[in-house]
Every structure is written in C-alpha cells, then in structure tokens.
Symmetry: C2
C-alpha cells in the first residue's frame, strides 16, 4: 500500500503531508519527483480521476481513496498512520485546529497576493503592503495567541490528545515558515509563544523528522511558496535588486 502525494516541487501546502508521511515512515511517492510526475499531476487536475476532480494540488491517493485539501489530507494521513488522537472529542479538536492552520496559510499567502492569485507579487505590491501591515499588526498576533492558548488548554505540550499528532507537525511547519518569511516580526512575538516554540523543537528532534529535514527530500523555502521572505512585507525596507553585470 503506497501513498501517492501529488504536489508542486515546493514546500507550500504539500509540506504538511510530507512531514506526516516522513514521521510515520510510510511507503510513499512524491509524484512530481518522478520523470513524468508533473505531467501525471496536471492530467488529473485537467481531467480528474473516477474519485476526484481536484480544484488544485495537493492531493493524495491510496487504495480507492482520493483526497484533496491540505487540512483534510493531513487528518486523513494522520488518522491512518497513527499520528492522530483516538478519542472523538480530541479527534475533532485536532481537525478544528488543523483547519485553522489552513486558514492561517491562506492569510500568509494573501500578504503577497492580496488582489489577484493569477498575477505576480510585483503587480500588487501596494495592496500587499497594506495587507501585510494588517497581517503583522492584527492577524498574526491573533493566530499566535490562538495557537499558544490552545496548547495551554490541552496540556501535554501538544495540540490535541496526549501525543504528537499531525496538527503538531503542521504547527512545526508554521513556525519554520514564519521564521523564514517574517523573521523580524515573528521574533518580537517569541516571548509570547513559549509552548509553540517548545513544540517546534520537540518535533524537530524526532528522529525521522530530523533525518527528513537533513535530506534532499525536503525542499528549501523559496519565493515560489506560501511563505516568502519579502523584507518590505516584514516591516522593513525592500532588499536592493541584484543587478546583472
């Protein structure tokens, strides 16, 4: 039983799935790493398969099940691979928080694409500056407070249940992303999110996660993903453009 993950060759919204598959030591294929993988993925986006006509990657396939939407993929994989709480109340708590993480990803994305998903950042820099300001001053503090308080509420150093689950792996990715994209802003909040930072360290120390992060299976952050480092959106001034000689 091999899991197939279909996603672009970036971290982006596919990274939650990769972290779970890696942490569980699952048998999986990151389809777009294979020679014809990109074509196979785009064929499914264009034409669908019997069980799925996705809006966009990522999507996952195993047996006769096809699942899209990053938060659902995370809970689907987490529940099958032993990385989810077993009791109903905690299972729903986990998925509720995971969906809020997905919402957070959308808001991070919209800091650099506030007006048109299909246009480049450089074509929407002025509204992006406004949106990023609102993100830094209102939304990010609200989300960070939500995460920290939910860790306090649950106890055990994790978001739901007693053990590390898929939500905690996703939270790790959020911390890594903020550290990359909004270093200046995020640093100011460090003292307010001790549990979130401790969880980040705990996840990073898990042997399979550590091995994954050190491997070439982990894509680097880049300016093609959700988390992008534009200093001017982090409350600084734009980096000087490199000139060609």
């Amino acid at each position: 039983m091999t899991y197939e993950l279909y996603y672009w060759p970036i971290q982006g919204r596919g990274e939650f799935a990769r972290l779970i598959l890696e942490d569980a030591g699952a048998d999986y294929v990151d389809v777009t790493r294979s020679r014809d993988g990109m074509k196979r993925m785009q064929d499914i986006v264009a034409n669908g398969v019997p069980g799925l006509l996705p809006f966009a990657p990522p999507f996952v396939h195993v047996d006769d099940i096809w699942v899209a939407q990053s938060a659902l993929i995370a809970s689907f994989l987490g529940e099958r691979l032993g990385l989810a709480p077993s009791e109903a109340p905690a299972r729903y708590a986990a998925l509720t928080i995971m969906l809020t993480i997905a919402d957070f990803m959308n808001e991070v994305h919209d800091t650099h694409h506030p007006v048109a998903v299909d246009k480049y950042y450089k074509e929407q820099k002025a509204p992006a500056k406004l949106r990023a300001e609102s993100f830094r001053e209102k939304r990010l503090p609200k989300f960070l407070r939500y995460f920290e308080r939910n860790l306090e509420r649950n106890g055990n150093g994790v978001f739901a249940g007693k053990d590390v689950s898929y939500v905690d792996l996703a939270a790790f990715q959020i911390v890594e992303g903020l550290t990359f994209a909004f270093p200046k802003t995020f640093k100011k909040h460090h003292k307010k999110v001790p549990l979130l930072l401790a969880l980040r360290d705990r996840v990073a120390a898990r042997p399979r996660i550590a091995a994954y992060l050190a491997s070439d299976r982990r894509y680097a952050f880049s300016e093609h993903g959700i988390f992008r480092h534009y200093p001017e959106l982090d409350g600084g001034t734009a980096a000087p453009r490199r000139r060609s000689r």
Copy 2:
C-alpha cells in the same frame, strides 16, 4: 441530545449548519437567538471550554464534542444526521468538495475585505474593486467550472454518493449567495452550470428546507454577511447613497 449552534445572527458561515440541522429535523438551538446567547458565545470565544478554544464562530456542541470551522461542522453534522455518503471514497470526496466551498466563501469575503478583516469595506474600496475584478474574471469561473464538473463526474445530480448530502445543501447556499451578491455576473454563467442550478432547485424543494426558508428562522442576506451586494463589485456602478431627510 440537543445540538447547540453558536454563530452570529446572520447567514454567513453558520448557514451551512442551519441548513443541515433543518433538513434533518434535528433538535437544535441557535444559541444567539436566546436572550443571553450572544454573551454565552462571546464568553466561549474569549475563555474557551474544556474541549475548544475557537478562533471564531461558528462552533457546535453536542454531548462531549465541540467542533469549529464551517466545513468540519458541516461534515460532522451531515455524518451524524444521515446527510452524508456512507462509503469511504465518497465520504472523502464530499469533505474535499465541502472544504473547497469553504475556500470559495473566503474568496467571496475577500472581494469586499481584500486588505484588512478588521476594517470596513468603505476603507478598502479601491483594492476591493481590483480583487472583485479578479474574482469575477478568474476565480468565479474557475470555481463554477469545478462545481459543475464535479456534479458531472459523480452523476446522480449530487456531489457525492447517490443522495443529497451536506455538500449539496452547502452548494444551494452558494447559489443563493451568488444570486444575491453578484446577480449581474452570475447570470452570465447560468448556461454553463445547468447541473448546479438544478441541484439548487432540488434542494429548495425539499419540504423541510422549503419550510425553513419560509420561516423567520432563516436570516435574510444583508451587508453584514459574507455575500454582500455592492453593485460596483458586480461590475456595475455604485448604488447612490440614501440621504436622510
């Protein structure tokens, strides 16, 4: 066993839950309709309960389970109340599509709030015009195509499985919302979404839904919800402001 729905006294993101509870004839309380309901909801948002510290309404409570996030609430209620497919592949297909409907709601919201969630529409009219243009020209056609093709893919006149499920009730709400908020734009697409419009009619004709829509339990669309009718965002000119005498 009474379901408690906590949401603002508007349609908004709580309407998916109301449609399911009504269609199932479930025993439920729309908490903010009670005298102290608004206070109870805001207390939970501020302080949480043992099973939940929500980011925002809506959230639902039954037995020892608390669930937030509109798409998860819909699948949770749908699965408990006989309004969800029973086989695993179709259950995941339903939730995948429901989550895409939730994404669509976010994009509708952002047409009037592209820059700052916490500010009024009138403070972000210029970027809203740009965002709405992108919505009308790129995103809405892409989502409508996604909905129509998924109805074609599944057959049976519904999104997943053989019978009307929570996803179909949500799709009804989407059609109603577009008809209210973007009448001019949506009408241009009518010929391209015959299955979606037929599904809308089929849902509207269900006896309990018809009774609900005719009752005062159904809030009216308004300019406090997700779907708002601003003619200038529908590709027209702004309505003249009413003057007080």
